[in-house]
């Protein structure tokens, strides 16, 4: 069986229907476990106090804001190269979800920053590149909505996605090569010395798994909706011509 079989809309919907109950259930379990564990059963940080609890939302949301764009980049490239409609529709389906994750990352960062940095906002490299990423999400969705021909919309949004990828990567690595910002380096690392303490790390890991699974579940649901919308559009066009 080839991976490209899933480019068939019927096959995609059948597979999505089969896996969705498990993905949704696991997403709910991981999200509730990670957030309840982080909120109720972890100690305060000696410097940040109880604001460290925002970490369980902010870090997974920021990671998924970038990863959602990377997923859109991959599916957009598949559309541009192989012209599979499902891949273009999957990119379209992922954009609102990625936008919400970016918004959560920015809002929770601002709320945390006010007491910790003394400011809601700073034109710091990572913060600024995240704001530009949010604007790219808005622009991407607006472009899909603005163009009637779905293939032209898929082509132009794919190009926009390629351009926006620069800011998605910048928002991930900005702190590494611009040292003048307020934002600290990555909190999570595979290096045990660099990583946060285990007491914060384990619930964060569960919460991250929850965000990843929630993203997957929502993209599957929304891609099915987009496939149906495309089919409906075709049927309505045929009705008008008869």
């Amino acid at each position: 069986m080839s991976f490209w079989e899933y480019a068939n809309p019927r096959k995609f919907i059948a597979t999505a229907d089969a896996v969705l109950p498990y993905v949704t259930g696991l997403a709910a379990i991981c999200l509730v476990t990670g957030l309840v564990w982080g909120f109720f059963f972890t100690p305060d940080d000696f410097r940040q106090g109880s604001t460290v609890k925002i970490f369980y939302l902010h870090v997974p949301a920021a990671m998924m804001a970038i990863n959602a764009w990377v997923m859109m980049l991959v599916t957009s490239l598949i559309w541009l190269i192989r012209r599979h409609h499902v891949s273009a529709l999957a990119a379209k389906a992922a954009a609102p979800v990625g936008m919400v994750f970016t918004l959560i990352a920015l809002v929770t960062g601002a709320i945390w920053g006010q007491p910790m940095w003394g400011t809601w906002w700073e034109w710091d490299p990572r913060l600024t590149s995240f704001l530009i990423l949010l604007l790219f999400y808005f622009g991407y969705m607006a472009l899909w909505a603005a163009i009637d021909n779905p293939d032209t919309a898929a082509d132009l949004t794919a190009i926009l996605c390629l351009v926006g990828s620069v800011f998605a990567l910048l928002s991930r690595y900005a702190v590494n090569f611009w040292n003048q910002g307020l934002h600290q380096g990555a909190s999570l690392s595979l290096d045990k010395k660099e990583n946060v303490a285990d007491v914060f790390w384990y619930p964060a890991l569960v919460s991250i798994a929850g965000f990843v699974l929630l993203f997957l579940a929502l993209v599957l649901i929304r891609t099915k909706t987009e496939i149906r919308a495309r089919r409906l559009h075709a049927l309505e066009m045929r009705e008008r011509m008869e």
């Binding site: 106090g49 925002i54 809002v107 929770t108 709320i111 945390w112 007491p115 929630l214 929502l218």
Partner: protein
């Protein structure tokens, strides 16, 4: 049961409140759009089957 959030209670609770509202919002919107689109497509498919073919 509620942890003592100290002087940052409003900060932490507002971050959780806004984030959970946004997450619930995108989930409900996605489910509503999915159901609505499925119903519209089912209706269009039914119309197509009912319509006699020309010739």
């Amino acid at each position: 049961m509620m942890p003592d959030l100290g002087k940052y209670a409003s900060t932490v609770l507002s971050a959780y409140g806004i984030s959970l509202a946004l997450l619930v919002g995108i989930v409900l919107l996605s489910l509503w759009q999915s159901r609505r689109m499925k119903a519209r497509l089912d209706a269009a498919e039914a119309r197509r089957l009912e319509t006699p073919k020309n010739g």
